[in-house]
């Protein structure tokens, strides 16, 4: 297991280095430059050139990358080119916000989705199954922008139960923060429900149809025991993999939801940095999301191995 862990960590490190290189390279293809983003479209070109010179953004991208990577190795995440503050000062609160939203969304979404998938799988072919499946697909097909606006209209504007924006006052307690996070979390739940529930349902159907489930039934075990001890354990394996993939999205890919609920998360920060060609901020932002993604994937793999002895044996070999 230790070897497996080290191997995965080594691969993660290589992935992150490649990721940072790709971000730097791709950014050079993007239109626009930092000087103009700071000074505005109507600024004199001379001023834009002066600012680019001052910021060092007129240097070759390789030189900029080496400079940035050198700083990173010494623990310096760099300085945001457009805002002229340390990138860490911008990243920390944004990451904190994103993790909070991801956690709430996760806690609301995962139990609901798995429960939906399990019920649909257990009642395969029934109206309940069809209802869950069709609802899930319909919700997944709706853009999160539309889902979010519908929820805002109902719960914030018509009923007035929840705030429109996910922006609480400084020093708000956990419960208040939770209240502000509910609508975006529900939006994400509706978006992800169909996907996770369908995977769980498919796993359930496959597991219920397996030899070991049939044997368990034939042994006379009660249905609840068969499902809990034999079926679920196997049915949830693909669900875990899918959830792990979604965590990356929940932390770094929520630009639309963050805009709609005016939430200062890392997705928005990365988007703005990309728009303004703020390379140090963009790269560090992407790397942070990459690290979260890799850590969660690793956890999922370990969980997978714990639940599935075959994987354990393969990795042990």
């Amino acid at each position: 297991m230790t070897r497996f862990l080290f191997k995965r960590l080594g691969l993660a490190l290589i992935t992150l280095v490649l990721l940072s290189m790709i971000v730097f390279t791709v950014s050079t293809i993007l239109p626009g430059n930092v000087g103009r983003a700071v000074l505005g479209p109507f600024a004199a070109q001379e001023s834009v050139d002066q600012l680019n010179e001052q910021l060092g953004t007129n240097r070759p991208v390789v030189e900029q990358y080496i400079d940035w990577a050198g700083g990173l190795l010494q623990g310096d995440l760099g300085v945001s080119l457009t805002k002229q503050v340390p990138a860490s000062d911008l990243l920390r609160p944004a990451l904190e916000n994103s993790l909070k939203l991801a956690l709430v969304a996760f806690l609301v979404c995962i139990p609901f989705s798995i429960l939906g998938g399990v019920i649909a799988g257990l009642r395969y072919g029934s109206p309940t199954d069809k209802g869950i499946t069709i609802t899930g697909i319909s919700l997944a097909a709706m853009p999160e922008f539309v889902t979010g606006i519908l929820l805002i209209l109902v719960f914030a504007i018509w009923l007035g139960w929840l705030p429109v924006t996910a922006q609480w006052d400084e020093g708000a307690n956990v419960l208040t923060q939770l209240k502000y996070l509910l609508l975006p979390a529900f939006t994400l739940t509706l978006v992800l429900f169909g996907y996770i529930a369908r995977i769980t349902r498919a796993g359930m159907i496959e597991a219920l149809d397996s030899d070991y489930a049939r044997t368990a039934y034939l042994k006379g075990l009660p249905s609840s025991v068969v499902v809990r001890k034999h079926v679920l354990r196997n049915a949830l394996l693909p669900t875990i993999a899918v959830i792990a993939v979604q965590v990356g999205y929940l932390v770094g890919g929520l630009i639309v939801v963050e805009v709609l609920f005016n939430y200062q998360g890392i997705g928005l920060l990365i988007y703005e940095a990309a728009r303004q060609k703020d390379l140090p901020l963009l790269t560090v932002g992407v790397l942070v999301v990459g690290v979260v993604y890799l850590v969660v994937t690793l956890i999922a793999d370990l969980l997978y191995a714990m639940l599935n002895p075959r994987i354990r044996f393969v990795t042990a070999e």
């Binding site: 050079t28 993007l30 239109p31 626009g32 430059n33 103009r36 983003a37 700071v38 000074l39 505005g40 479209p41 109507f42 600024a43 004199a44 070109q45 001023s47 834009v48 002066q50 600012l51 007129n58 457009t82 805002k83 503050v85 606006i149 805002i152 914030a156 504007i157 007035g160 705030p163 429109v164 924006t165 922006q167 400084e170 963050e258 805009v259 709609l260 609920f261 005016n262 200062q264 928005l268 703005e272 728009r275 303004q276 060609k277």
Partner: protein, 565 residues
């Protein structure tokens, strides 16, 4: 009474007035100026309100309200905090770098300007209490208001104004656009409360150029202004009705009442600003009662607040417009007949209803908005004429005309371009639309290449670009239409036009300005380097409990008299 008035006016003309003020009164007496224009011009030359009233009464305009007198204010409760919704901004908040709606609206709350251009295009005193030009409008002398306190307790003096203005014409990267008019040596203090501007060339409307329409020109304390880039770090100290107490970049800001504000104690206790990444969340937040007032909406977004008793809907005409520029020096639009044909395809009133939902005024392919005092209203309005358009195309041998409109994904640009495309199709013109991101549209192409000869917005065959509101058309002329203009996207070069523009810029008398604008408008109709088919109304909304808010048309939020019901 009449004799007293006449004597007062004559004494003024003899003892105080210079040639410009005397010309103004002569124009009024001769019937060349109506009351509104007289007041507007009089204020610009720094003539006192009582003298303007006296001159009007003397010429039979008795009962005229003195200039600058505000309409009656609605009663408000003292206290309360107004919650503003502003669009977030990526660039700097330093005054000399301001270039986005959200940042200029914010900076303009603690910050103030020498003068103020109101929604009717009138110039009002602000930190300057009065001003006077010399005979040829090359030297303007401003009296600085006494007793004004900055938020840090310092008293405003001429030195603060001089240091601020020097920053705006000298700081590297300054966006203020004042350096063509004067340089650092051209602004000086005479005593504690007098500032003298020596201009590079005559400018008859100079007070407009130091009003909030040049939103960078905030007056800062001299010690801060001497070090460009330190205003925000030092707490955004200005003279405005509210002072900053807290600012979280990209998220929110809080300001409290400036108790020693020169304009009287503001009714509100404070202002709380929330920044939004998009306008959709602002619409929802206002509807849900989470904010009280929004900086600006598009016509479409504001529809939900129109005719709704829970909200107030604001819509004011402005000189903000779009310029559909066509290359006059090369390509398929080189022939002026072809450009005229394109302009003749557009059904302007119908387009305003379709694209702007009525929130615009018809333009006549020139930058002379009908609200400007200098605009001659007698120029015939261009209207749709498809028959003539086809005939012009045929005469120019351009019956299979094809070209692209290049623009970026901003506000009404996409709908506007599609509208022009549809109208042009009726005359057999095939227009494609090249839609870009803001970074690409306003950057050199490829990145790093010479800017002015490669950037799409200045070099494509036809471009659609946005221009904000101004109190006078000077910047439109000097930068977009004159052959020396650095934003001349149509590459229009016409010596006669340049000469008329220079005449206009130097003219102080409104009659001379009108003569120049009329002739320029005629040349622009003939050559049609730019299609300006509409001037945009500034639209926004607030909750119905907001009282006495008047938008100024360029996103500045004047809150000194605003209160809550």
């Amino acid at each position: 009474m009449d004799r007293d008035l006449r004597r007062r006016v004559e004494e003024y003309r003899r003892d105080e007035a210079g040639p410009l003020e005397n010309n103004l009164i002569d124009e009024l007496v001769a019937g060349e100026l109506d009351r509104t224009e007289f007041l507007r011009r009089g204020a610009m030359f720094g003539v006192s309100a009582s003298m303007l009233g006296a001159a009007l009464a003397m010429t039979g305009e008795a009962g005229a309200a003195p200039f600058g007198q505000q309409s009656a204010l609605e009663p408000v409760q003292s206290g309360g905090t107004i919650r503003l919704g502003l669009p977030s901004f990526g660039a700097s908040l330093e005054p000399y770098l301001l270039n986005e709606g959200g940042s200029l609206a914010f900076a303009g709350i603690p910050g103030e300007y020498l003068t103020f251009t109101d929604v009717r295009g009138r110039i009002l005193p602000s930190l300057a209490s009065s001003w006077r030009p010399n005979a040829d409008a090359t030297v303007w002398t401003f009296q600085i208001r006494r007793g004004v306190k900055f938020h840090n307790g310092k008293t405003l003096t001429a030195q603060d104004v001089v240091a601020s203005m020097r920053q705006y014409v000298s700081a590297k990267g300054s966006n203020a656009g004042l350096s063509p008019f004067f340089d650092a040596a051209g602004v000086s203090a005479r005593g504690q409360y007098t500032v003298v501007f020596r201009l590079k060339s005559p400018i008859g409307v100079f007070p407009y150029l130091v009003s909030q329409t040049t939103y960078q020109a905030i007056i800062q304390p001299a010690a801060i202004a001497a070090n460009p880039g330190t205003w925000v770090a030092r707490g955004m100290i200005g003279t405005g009705p509210f002072k900053l107490t807290r600012y979280v970049a990209g998220r929110s800001a809080e300001l409290v009442r400036h108790n020693t504000y020169w304009g009287g104690r503001p009714p509100l206790d404070g202002v709380r600003i929330t920044y939004y990444q998009g306008t959709a969340p602002m619409v929802l937040a206002l509807r849900a009662g989470q904010i009280d007032l929004v900086m600006q909406f598009s016509a479409q977004e504001a529809q939900t607040f129109k005719n709704n008793s829970r909200f107030k809907y604001y819509s004011i005409p402005t000189s903000a417009h779009r310029q559909f520029c066509m290359r006059t020096d090369q390509g398929p639009l080189r022939d002026p007949r072809v450009r005229r044909a394109v302009a003749l395809c557009i059904n302007r009133p119908q387009q305003i209803q379709r694209v702007m939902l009525g929130a615009a005024q018809v333009g006549n392919d020139n930058p002379f908005w009908r609200g400007f005092a200098s605009t001659d209203q007698s120029t015939k309005q261009r209207t749709q004429n498809l028959q003539l358009a086809r005939a012009l195309l045929k005469a120019a041998n351009a019956e299979n005309l094809r070209f692209n409109i290049t623009t970026w994904n901003f506000a009404d640009h996409a709908d506007h371009a599609a509208s022009i495309q549809a109208y042009a199709r009726q005359a057999g013109i095939d227009i494609g639309i090249e839609m870009m991101d803001v970074g690409k549209y306003y950057d050199s192409e490829p990145a790093g290449a010479d800017y002015f000869t490669t950037t799409p917005w200045l070099n494509r065959t036809a471009t659609l670009t946005e221009y904000g509101a101004r109190g006078v058309p000077n910047i439109f002329l000097t930068r977009s239409y004159m052959s020396t203009g650095d934003w001349n996207a149509s590459h229009y070069k016409n010596a006669e036009f340049d000469s008329l523009a220079r005449t206009y810029l130097a003219a102080s008398e409104v009659a001379a300005q009108k003569r120049a604008t009329k002739r320029m408008a005629g040349l622009l109709l003939r050559d049609t380097p730019v299609i300006t088919d509409y001037f945009i109304r500034y639209v926004t909304a607030s909750s119905s409990k907001v009282r006495n808010y008047v938008p100024d048309g360029i996103s500045q939020m004047k809150l000194a008299k605003v209160g809550l019901a």
